[in-house]
Symmetry: C2
Subunit: 150 residues, 2 copies
């Protein structure tokens, strides 16, 4: 398994470094988008992690956010106080509370997502062909990484 290519070539390290640099430069924009929406960064992550049609247990959200479950309680308390999320009993296990986005939550989530999806200015320097190659290479990396803990 995994004889497809070399591991950790200098080129791969340099590519990863370039990607980290680019991501770091965008940190401020993410914080700004959150602030525009009246959200803290963790609240923004939580809202993005919830899917409209799919109620999910709180423990699930803790897993996605990579934080302790005790943390999610307060996080959801604040989102629920603003009417963005609701807690609902789960059908077959009364210990579990399902999280459901309200209509207001869905609207805010979509509005935030649109802003986050806008590429940084630098992407305008790419031709369509270059953008396509970049997209395909990134998808290849993501696909190869996800099965085994990326």
């Amino acid at each position: 398994m995994d004889t497809t290519a070399g591991h950790l070539t200098p080129e791969a390290v340099e590519a990863w470094t370039a990607m980290r640099t680019l991501a770091m430069a965008q940190r401020g924009r993410m914080v700004a988008v959150a602030a525009e929406a009246g959200l803290s960064p963790p609240q923004l992550f939580a809202l993005q992690a919830l899917t409209p049609g799919e109620p999910a247990p709180m423990s699930n959200l803790a897993g996605v956010l990579r934080c302790d479950a005790s943390n999610v309680t307060g996080l959801i308390d604040r989102l629920a106080a603003r009417g963005l999320v609701e807690r609902r009993p789960a059908p077959h296990d009364r210990r579990i509370r399902h999280l459901v986005l309200t209509d207001a939550g869905i609207a805010l989530r979509d509005r935030v997502r649109e802003r986050l999806e806008e590429p940084p200015d630098g992407f305008a320097a790419l031709s369509p062909a270059e953008a396509r190659r970049l997209r395909d290479l990134l998808r290849k990396v993501a696909a190869a990484g996800s099965p085994r803990r990326a």
Copy 2:
């Protein structure tokens, strides 16, 4: 200005989305590296933002971290208490305090940096030629974005 290429093509949006997905999947690793070093994520950022030979004013660090200056005081207090950073008076302006990494600070900074530079598993799926193309495309985006607010 900026007639080099198309703006916000669908390919560019898709490339940016792929990159955000990849970056998000690595968030947990960064937190883990910080924890290994006994640092909080902001403390890790601060340590990485300081350059060994170059003393920098605290306001400078606030700019890089994109947080309020009042925040930097406590952040540096904690790093200084652990002997990683020192405050020194600036030569020509006695209002300014220069931040200097100690030897211990430099050692920890380098150790953390090494871990952060390790590419995620998915990069092993790229051939050297592919990694090089990915690196060059990312650098092109970064270079085009940095002069005007990226």
